[in-house]
Amino acid sequence: MARIIVVTSGKGGVGKTTTSAAMAMGLALKGHRTAVIDFDVGLRNLDLIMGCERRVVYDFVNVINGESTLNQALIKDKRCDKLFILPASQTRDKESLTVEGVGKVLEDLSKDFEFIVCDSPAGIERGATLAMYYADDAIVVTNPEVSSVRDSDRMLGILASKSRRAEQGEEPIKEYLLLTRYSPERVKLGEMLSVEDVQDILSLHLLGVIPESKAVLNASNSGVPVILDEKSDAGQAFSDVVRRYLGEHVTHRFIDVEKKSIFGRLFGG
């Protein structure tokens, strides 16, 4: 039975698609068959971030409507043969998604895959609620900024009440906090919320902190999930996140201001 992970946030533009792409690639590189699905019908961009926008023939809505088979719609990633992408439709809208349709697709995917990453759209409407309905784990992506924290809090309330697990009284969805676009310098200056400030309000298990990084924009533009940019801070942070998700104990990096001293540079900085 596959583990279904939803990457959600409430607020838009915080890094859900970036995270979905990086997580899915990371899990696949570790040898797990992984599928990543774009739930943002009408505003699809997972295919751009994954670099497969020129190979999209059929999409998620085609599969739900029976217009194509799942195998026809899934796109195999060129860099890792264990990673598959199910793109969203660009011409339809969220009304085309149904609870049963989504459920059937996830059930079929579960037969072949170990992890299914669901890239949720922003908001709390149908696309977002369907993306999280069948989830086992939820990664709540949050920027260290007041409106993002408030929206993530709202999304947590919805996860706790409107998911299938909640409706059927099963064990609740496991929630993780992923803090993105973190700048330790600004936190030190008191301009930005710190990890502790965010945890004070959200009280969630911290999966990781991704620093603000130029590498993310470069990665999106070139259609390469940022986790593959191993030299970048964001790429390394995402690698840590995947390891932590799989159960390894990894110390949190990129939270404190880097001290660049001459001794550090001489003796192995």
Partner: protein
């Protein structure tokens, strides 16, 4: 994808009928003088009109001294609707009254999960509101997240974690928050002015007891971030450190 997918697309459940439990505020009728009821109702609702707007409310006629009396249900429903309430049903009535309510005012007959013992038909009872035979307390252990609403009818609410900004917690009785209270807390919503709110860390957006409320801006800074109790004294809200 197997061909059976198109067959399964033909039959899809349009709905499911399930049993659910709801918490409803209840209007316990103590007088059948509809004009008097109407004017008092209007006074009460005026104290917190937003709170009562479109609120579903059941009508309980158990406490009426004369169990056989004729009640102007049409007038009562009209009075409630004028205040913005949505009357959903009648409980505690005799067969004759239930039928009258259904026929004249389209009210359904519902049964309350908890009931006080019916007063003896012969002995006259004092008009003061009878204390509830059972008081139940709801204990919430998970954080109350933004956008969530919790209402405890006929009892107290205890929250063992934080209440986020944008969340609303309400109770007919007292409210205890053993964590940070950042949202709105309304105690004694049915008009019990003796109720109190207790919390470990007051950062609330709004606190209210029996309709008397105070918003965050009007709460003194020295009372933020510390354990407090909030109660009503002579119609004004007192916030006191504990």
């Amino acid at each position: 994808m197997p061909a059976s997918h198109s067959e399964s697309a033909e039959f899809v459940n349009a709905f499911e009928i399930k049993s659910g439990a709801v918490n409803l505020p209840v209007l316990k009728l103590l007088s059948v003088d509809m004009e008097y009821v109407s004017s008092q109702l209007w006074q009460k609702i005026r104290q917190a009109p937003e709170f009562f707007r479109n609120a579903p409310m059941a009508i309980d006629i158990h406490s009426l001294v004369d169990a056989d009396v004729d009640i102007d249900f049409v007038g009562l429903v009209r009075a409630m609707r004028d205040c913005g309430l949505i009357p959903v049903g009648l409980c505690g009535g005799a067969e004759r009254q239930n039928q009258a309510a259904q026929a004249a005012a389209g009210l359904s007959v519902i049964s309350l999960a908890r009931h006080e013992l019916p007063p003896p038909a012969s002995a006259p009872k004092p008009k003061a509101a009878p204390p509830p035979a059972e008081v139940h307390t709801k204990i919430v252990e998970q954080p109350v997240r933004s956008g969530q609403r919790i209402y405890v009818a006929g009892g107290d609410l205890v929250v063992m974690s934080q209440v986020s900004a944008g969340a609303e917690i309400m109770a007919d009785g007292n409210i205890h928050v053993y964590g940070t209270l950042r949202g709105r807390a309304l105690a004694g919503v049915q008009g019990n002015l003796g109720c109190r709110i207790f919390c470990h860390d007051l950062q609330a957006e709004l606190v209210s007891i029996g309709g008397h409320y105070k918003i965050s801006e009007n709460i003194d800074d020295s009372l933020r971030g510390v354990p407090v109790q909030i109660y009503l004294q002579d119609q004004s809200l007192i916030i006191q450190r504990i």
